[in-house]
Amino acid sequence: MLLSMQDISKSFAGVAALRSATLDVADGEIMALVGQNGAGKSTLIKILTGAYKVETGRIAFNGRDVTFTSPADSQAAGIATIYQEINLAAQRSVAENIYLAREPRRFGLLDHRRMREGARRVLEAFHLDIDVDRPVASFNAATRQMVAIARSVEQNAKLLIMDEPTSSLDEREVSILFDTIRTLQARGVAVIFIGHRLDELYAICNRVTIMRDGQTVAVSAMQDISKMELVRHMLGRELAAFEALSKSAEGHEERPVRLELEAAGSGTRVRQVDLTVREGEISGLAGLLGSGRSETARIIFGMDRLERGSLRVGGQARTYTEPADAIADGIGLVSEDRKVDGIIPDMSIRENMTLALLPKLRKAGVINRARQDEIVQRFITALRIKCASPDQPIKELSGGNQQKVLLARWLCTDPKVLIVDEPTRGIDIGAKSEILKLLRQLADEGLSVLMISSELEELLAAADRITVLSDGASVAVLPRSAMSEKALLAAMAHQGE
């Protein structure tokens, strides 16, 4: 084994990110590393490269026990990493980037000629003929990536880690990248390939390591595992089943359509999505990481521009240029990452909840405190938010209660459509079913809910209909009668033909 990571554990602020994870990579092999968001892939890689300190566990590389304390450390040992955002000094030349930190010198001065020639030689091995004096920023993503790979080759890396290397490449560029990876493999370089497009993994990788909830749940030769099995391992299932949730009354399929996407597309992440949300129902949106779920929500909410196809809200064609347009039409979005674009941690529950409502709470330019109090109190009661007082900073609440405040933020604007992206992420199991019950109750009162989730159990329990996305396109719609774990897995494992 070139690399052996055993029993790796790591936690952040008491929350376990890795629990006895393992990863083995043989000499010259291409190992796929897969898992949902939060499965622990990137934490594992950061521990390997020395960006994070290892808490427990053992790492052996190239036959020796190692502990890397910095990225420079692991690089010196022969581990190169190409991050998704391709970390190169953008304004420096190609040649300089390939040699940065290990420049050839002549009498102590930089040997520009040797750098240029060396860079050309390395790039030639990958059939790349570019002006090595131009700044890296002037090349496209595929070329930049190739330069990063050339840098690792020049540093004699034995193990190359690639984090979603195909995410910004088109088909032709992907095939060039794969040729490059095979060239590396022929030279004896091992590769850890982090990705989520299943077809690509099957095309290039020898083995796969699957992670879930901070653990390694399966390791298999690529040809010995079916796509469906692979997806099943990635998603797993919650052990505790949700309390039985009621669904919409029969006949909800006949209710008027409130929001509809037809052949919608934007950029490369959303290619062709058909989606329907009716009055008073929960419409589920499923798909693997990178399938375009959140991006679809961004289009509906006016954060990304609808470039192709159509969006109809309440029967009328719409193109939103900013979220304010969508909000004016009664659309709300509770985003995936509460911490980044949801809560304002130090502000109180009162302020967090009424943020979207403030313009309407003004009376002669001043916030009408009495009305604000009334609304806040009503939602604290209705959503059963557990807090000491409305003036408590929101950061002191549990994840589930923070999520309820965010839901209330939109509910108090009286929306017609509420998009919830991963509404139960980072929330303990009891609070999860409470949030789902709450969404159901709101739907019964007439709200249209679009629920994006990577948890199958959750979708199966709560949604009246599930639209499945794969690689930016809707590939299946499962009505309630056809909903089963098996049908959902089969649809998700489907990759663009």
Partner: protein, 331 residues
């Protein structure tokens, strides 16, 4: 595209930054041409030599500022440090010119090191750290000098550092020239110089590529302090006195010169040669305004000169931003 064919390959701009730097050279030449044609004594040796003697101090400070700005930082303390160094070197001048020079540079280096420690070890924002150093250095200078200028010793050769010539050129100009040659070699020909550029491009990236980011950032502030100390020493020698109240606004002049020279305030790109051109260009605007007053048709007060210089700076910076905003080719 067509015009570029006539430019030799090594001069041909490869990036928009190169274009901006080329622009400052062209502007400098144009202004010199303008002055030469319009005013009788513009190209007289007296005007040229006194221009170089005076602007050498700004050139020294701008060079240090150039390195600092390339890393994405800022050094507001250079004016204060130069004032302090002028006082310190004046006190040391009775012990010989070398003692004066060493004392002034040591005072500058001390403040540069202090800035470096505050920024890299204590993780204080460069703006705040060097603002504190600026106040502290002025305060120290005023305390040491007891709120007066400190006469240098005329018994030693100290004043030659500011007033004498070698081969017909002022010594301050020779000092600045030497500093710029060393600075150019550092930035263009030494790995450490390229690391300064890479750090400015993105600290996180530089760290991941295995560069010693803290050491690099520390050293640019140390060098900036050292050069400010040198400039302060030249100041004392040139005017025959340590000047605790001199140096006000020098940091802004230095920042302006660096920016006019096409160095990005966001860091990651910059050039020693263009910085020198920037200093000369801004100095030249002053010089031209003085000549314009000398013609007797108009009389611009110092206030108006300041306004005109500000407008000139604005025009140059806006033009550069326009050049830099042009989309680059994909390869």
């Amino acid at each position: 595209m067509s015009a570029a064919r006539f430019i030799p390959a090594f001069l041909r701009p490869k990036t928009s930054g190169d274009l901006a730097r080329l622009g400052v050279m062209v502007a400098l030449l144009a202004l010199i041409l303008f002055g030469a044609l319009r005013y009788d004594n513009f190209l007289s040796s007296f005007n040229i030599l006194s221009f170089l003697r005076y602007n050498a101090m700004f050139a020294l400070i701008a060079l240090g500022m150039c390195f600092v700005i390339i890393t994405g930082g800022i050094d507001l303390s250079v004016g204060g440090v130069a004032a302090l160094a002028s006082v310190v070197s004046a006190f040391a001048s009775p012990y010989g010119w070398a003692a004066g020079l060493a004392a002034g540079m040591a005072a500058g280096l001390a403040f540069g090191v202090l800035n470096g420690i505050m920024i890299t070890q204590m993780r204080i924002q460069p703006f705040i750290a060097t603002l504190a150093a600026m106040l502290a250095s002025y305060g120290t200078a005023l305390l040491l000098a007891d709120n007066q200028s400190v006469s240098v010793s005329y018994d030693t050769a100290f004043t030659m550092l500011g007033q004498d010539d070698i081969l017909g050129f002022p010594i301050p100009a020779w000092i600045a020239l030497a500093a710029y040659i060393l600075g150019w070699i550092f930035l263009e020909r030494l790995p450490a110089g390229r690391h300064v550029l890479a750090v400015g491009d993105g600290e996180a990236t530089a760290l991941l590529m295995g560069l010693k980011v803290r050491r690099t950032v520390f050293s640019v502030y140390a060098v900036s302090g050292l050069l400010a100390g040198l400039a302060g020493t030249v100041l004392a020698a040139q005017f025959g006195a340590g000047q605790p109240t001199e140096g006000v606004g020098w940091e802004l002049f230095a920042i302006a010169s660096v920016v006019v020279g096409g160095t990005l305030l966001s860091g990651g790109a910059g050039s020693v040669g263009a910085t020198l051109a920037g200093v000369l260009l801004l100095g030249m605007v002053f010089n031209v305004l003085n000549f314009e007053n000398g013609l007797g048709w108009i009389s611009l007060s110092a206030y108006w000169q300041s306004v005109i210089r500000g407008l000139f700076l604005l025009v140059v910076v806006v033009l550069q931003a326009k050049i830099a905003a042009r989309p680059e080719e994909q390869g």
